[in-house]
Amino acid sequence: MDVVISIPKRVVAKLRRRAKASGQPVPAYASKIVEQAVKGPTLEELLSPVQADFVRSGMTEKQFLDLGRKLLDKVRAEKKA
């Protein structure tokens, strides 16, 4: 599938240099970069199961943040020790 996008000049120059260094034509090189960028989960996808756990935990946001503060204090105290 072909997609037309607009790329800033300074990025194009860099893209050309890197494509040349990798021995690939610019479109093939750019396509690989885009493929790598969208391959893994997004941050929001990664956080989704954690947020579902929070809902299942039955804690309120305040209870959770109070717990977080206590745990952060412990982390910092252990770092200091």
């Binding site: 954690v50 947020q51 756990d53 952060l72 252990e78 770092k79």
Partner: protein, 162 residues
């Protein structure tokens, strides 16, 4: 991202909040949107990363959020680093005498020339209006640094969270 993308330091509690608390209804966390849309880059240091890892891996937290396995925490932090600029060396330049445990956040903000320090902590937010010597010193060291709550950050960036 552009060469002039502003940087922000998020304190560990802000990151814990977006990691674990579901967005309200259809509202997404402004602190996440700012990063994923390239409006901001996160400033990150080894100290802050270690603090985050230590927090997310606490057994007391995992007892309530079982998804926070070491592998999943590693994946979340790796993803967060994609939105971050790394500062390998962060000199000690600033200290809050009563709360030295926060010093590394200020030092990172100073070193990274961050535009924003994002926090819910009252003790840090109070520095904005303070005329105390340490507040003046911070303004001298980081004249463009603004301390915001996540909500204020959304307003400052005019982010649509819906």
């Amino acid at each position: 991202m552009t060469p002039s993308t502003p940087r922000a330091v998020y304190d560990a509690m802000v990151i814990l909040q977006w990691a674990a608390l579901p967005p309200e209804g259809s509202r997404r966390h402004a602190t996440v949107i700012a990063l994923s849309t390239g409006r901001l880059r996160l400033a990150m240091s080894q100290r802050l990363l270690d603090e985050l890892r230590g927090l997310l891996l606490r057994p007391e937290l995992r007892a309530r959020l079982p998804s926070l396995t070491p592998q999943h925490v590693a994946a979340i932090l790796k993803k967060a680093l994609e939105f971050s600029d790394w500062f390998g060396s962060v000199p000690s330049r600033f200290s809050l005498p009563l709360h030295p445990k926060d010093d590394h956040l200020f030092d990172l903000a100073i070193e990274s020339h961050a535009s924003y320090l994002v926090t819910w902590e009252t003790r840090l937010l109070k520095l904005r209006e303070s005329h105390a010597a340490e507040a003046k010193h911070l303004r001298h060291l980081a004249p463009k640094l603004v301390i915001h709550t996540p909500r204020e950050l959304a307003e400052a960036l005019k982010l649509k969270t819906l």
